[in-house]
Amino acid sequence: MPDLVFEGGARLLVVLHAAAAIVLVGSTTHQALIAWGYVRGRHKIRLGKIYAATLAITFGFGLLAYPTYRYHVRGLYFDRYEQWASNLFDVKENFAALGLPLVVAVLVLSQVMSPRDDRGLVAGYAACSFFIMAIVWFDVITGLVITMTRGV
């Protein structure tokens, strides 16, 4: 059998990936609620840095475990027996990547924007936050379904 990078720690990486994703679901939902508060004129604390860091950690663990998944799970099993799971995983990963510029946008805007004064920017900020939340919920749910089908 081939010796893949991070293969020995792949299960631990996926557990950490899932744990970080659980935090991420809560934090992105909270962020979206805060953004909704901005739209309605309520100004609360901004946690953009923490949310961006959580996403970076979740994404990072996923990237490290990816080679093991690609060969042992997708290459040897999903592509042969559970093709829907193989395709769903790639949808999930591509959606996650597409959320990256939105996370940076929320992080940057939360540092320079005043929700009270920059009312014109609030709608864009809220749109980014809701998009991120939708992607994270989709990714976590599909990730659980895929892992239940076969994990690393």
Partner: protein, 134 residues
């Protein structure tokens, strides 16, 4: 003495830069599917990288496409920041258009992945000799 030219507020400059960056990231991330473009492919079994259009075995272009997206994002953010600083204000219409373009690019890319991957028939790799499922 000439009066200092009014500058666009920081929040508006950041908004323009982030919207331009989002559009550029999405375009660069999906571009390899629409045009023959060399990207870094990682071959996990051989533990090597190759800079090519199509892989010759089991390989992953996900890392490479993210790098491509980040390069596109960086260029767009720098250019958009330089351009935005030349203007005094950001009109509501321009702001709305930038947001609409960014959302359209994202939604298009997401539909593209969902549609093409829903219809994809993956090719499994051949099982290694003596393979025992983990």
């Amino acid at each position: 003495m000439s009066e200092a030219r009014p500058r666009m507020p920081r929040g508006d400059v950041a908004f323009v830069a982030m919207r331009a960056g989002t559009i550029a990231f999405v375009v660069a991330f999906v571009a390899p599917f629409f045009t023959p473009l060399r990207v870094p492919w990682y071959y996990p079994v051989e533990r090597r990288w190759a800079f090519e259009i199509r892989p010759t075995g089991l390989a992953m272009d996900f890392y490479g496409r993210i790098v491509l997206g980040v390069i596109g994002w960086s260029i767009a953010v720098i250019v958009a920041t330089l351009i935005a600083r030349r203007f005094a204000t950001l009109g509501a219409r321009t702001r709305g258009l930038l947001l609409a373009w960014a959302i359209t690019a994202l939604v298009f890319a997401m539909f593209y992945f969902a549609w093409t991957l829903y219809h994809r028939v993956p090719m499994p790799v051949s099982l290694p000799p003596g393979y025992m499922p983990r």
